[in-house]
């Protein structure tokens, strides 16, 4: 029995963007550890320059040498102060990201998978994104008090936008021909989302995650500069009162290390999740 076809409503064209870039990978044989050594060498050179500059006085009398910073760090860790403040800060960031990341992903998914949702929420989210969220700090203190809530809210808001944008953009970038083929294999809406759209968007989602973590740390710095008596940000403000530049540098180094560690975490996730990718790895 023949079926009757009726014309479907015309849909706006979906932009087709290649999901992966193919390029030659020139594999050179390197001695084991050479790449790691090269990675460390840049950092070592920077520390060496810092140390030389401090000792020779090129950086002025207020810049502590790496050795002085190390001593201050050891002292802070020994007294238990450092551990206490670091834990408080980690908790703040953790709490903010734990809500902010899922929120950003959820908004991006909703907008990416359902056009109606995108139409409704995209404009307000974009408008809100243009607002530097750090400028909200004073407002949040008035709204949520000087306690933890205002800090959590501030840290929560920052990561939402990079994730929203990257999830949405990642989904829009999934090759429509793959969607078509998967549909012809009998995949339904849920199957398409799980096996085609989400994996296709994943590289871009991970880029968003990287940016979100960066924003999270940045917001922590601002959130801890006012109205607090704990956290590594407080350690910094407190050290400023006593002109303890060595302690201030301990905090600065801590920020750097935390940032590098979270980036490393995402990179590990990328390596696991994107094993199928064969992108350009440099020469």
């Amino acid at each position: 029995m023949p079926a009757v076809l009726s014309p479907a409503p015309t849909r706006p064209p979906v932009s087709v963007v290649p999901v992966r870039t193919l390029a030659l990978r020139r594999t050179r044989l390197l001695l084991p550890g050479v790449r790691q050594l090269r990675r460390v060498s840049g950092l070592a050179a920077a520390v060496l320059l810092w140390w030389l500059g401090a000792v020779q006085g090129w950086l002025g009398s207020t810049t502590p040498s790496p050795a002085a910073v190390w001593r201050a760090g050891v002292e802070l860790v020994g007294s238990g102060e450092y551990g206490h403040h670091l834990l408080v800060s980690l908790e703040r960031v953790g709490r903010g990201l734990l809500i902010g990341i899922p929120l950003g992903v959820a908004l991006g998914l909703a907008a990416g998978l359902t056009r109606a949702v995108e139409d409704v929420i995209d404009a307000p989210v974009q408008a809100f994104r243009m607002l530097p969220h750090l400028a909200l700090a004073p407002v949040f203190i008035i709204w949520f008090g000087i306690g933890e809530t205002s800090k959590t809210m501030l840290i929560l808001i920052g990561p939402v936008f990079p994730l929203y944008i990257n999830v949405l953009h990642g989904i829009r970038g999934v090759d429509n021909r793959l969607v078509e083929a998967a549909r012809s294999c009998g995949l339904g809406r849920w199957g398409l989302t799980r096996r085609v759209i989400l994996p296709g968007a994943l590289p871009q989602i991970l880029v968003g995650l990287r940016q979100a973590l960066g924003v999270g740390w940045l917001t922590l710095v601002v959130a801890e500069q006012t109205a607090t008596t704990s956290g590594i940000g407080y350690l910094m403000t407190d050290a400023r009162e006593f002109l303890r530049t060595d302690v201030m540098f301990v905090v600065l180094v801590t920020y750097a290390v935390l940032g590098v560690l979270s980036d490393l975490l995402v990179r590990l996730m990328e390596r696991r999740a994107l094993a199928w990718r064969r992108g350009f790895a440099g020469v």
Binding site: P2, R177, S184, R277
Partner: protein, 251 residues
């Protein structure tokens, strides 16, 4: 996959008065086409003649057409590009969308039919063009389709690989006997594989005839040359009576 799951499936293919327009430009104009169960039909036409559109309508991919379509319950499509998911292993690509147990076993069996058992766990990105297209063929075969839709599946392959792939498809068709609709712009390919050739032009079926040659076919028999001349004429390519062709196709 049928056009509407509530309707009983139709054995073979029945197309009646199918019309398709894009932005007011009519691509298919009341096209009729029948494919008997187990029949191999090649749909030939110059580029832009609507042959791929007709395949997409039959396959339920293009849902913007008007007219009547009857297709069997199980339809599988192989596209010009392999369209494998780059983030799924080969065997997971083959069983994409299938339910039930022993999926890997079924995938490996289908890969065996296209000679790629060894690549079951490879990433699609590591396959050659010919291998990827054979995986796409395995992905279609594993569904035991009653109708196999081939949308220029060999067009992106090099000449040697194309010949092998054509022979592979012919063998698989002979073994499993699905109805086949092959869209191609390659006259030789149509004459080598199809029971019947349908020539599409200006949105209507311009000509159709049975090929009527024994298999396996050779391009060297007189009837082949005669049919090719006729088809090329239908496609608007003028060929002299004694022109000797050596290339693969007829673009």
């Amino acid at each position: 996959m049928s056009v509407s799951p509530s309707l009983p499936a139709y054995p073979g293919v029945r197309v009646r008065g199918v019309t398709r327009a894009f932005d007011g430009r009519v691509v298919l104009d009341r096209v009729d086409l029948d494919i008997a169960p187990g029949e191999f039909v090649a749909l030939l036409g110059p580029s832009g003649s609507g042959k791929s559109t007709l395949l997409r309508i039959v396959g339920g991919i293009d849902t913007g057409a008007e007219g009547e379509i009857g297709v069997p319950g199980k339809v599988a499509v192989v596209f010009q590009e392999h369209r494998l998911l780059p983030w799924e292993r080969v065997w997971r690509n083959v069983t994409l969308g299938l339910d039930g147990g022993r999926l890997r076993e079924r995938a490996v069996a289908a890969l065996g039919e296209v000679g790629l058992t060894a690549r079951a766990d490879a990433w699609p990105g590591t396959l050659s063009g010919g291998e990827a297209q054979r995986v796409a063929l395995a992905r279609a075969l594993v569904r035991t389709p009653e109708l196999l839709l081939l949308d220029e599946p060999f067009a992106a392959l090099d000449a040697l690989t194309r010949l092998k792939a054509q022979r592979l498809v012919e063998g698989l068709w002979a073994e499993h006997r699905p109805s086949v609709l092959l869209v191609t712009h390659d006259v030789d390919e149509a004459l080598l594989l199809a029971d019947r050739v349908v020539l599409l032009g200006d949105g209507v079926v311009a000509e159709e005839f049975a090929v009527g040659m024994d298999r396996p076919r050779s391009v060297e028999v007189p009837r082949f040359a005669q049919l090719r001349r006729r088809l090329l004429g239908g496609l608007g390519v003028d060929t002299g009576p004694d022109q000797i062709r050596t290339g693969k196709g007829s673009e």
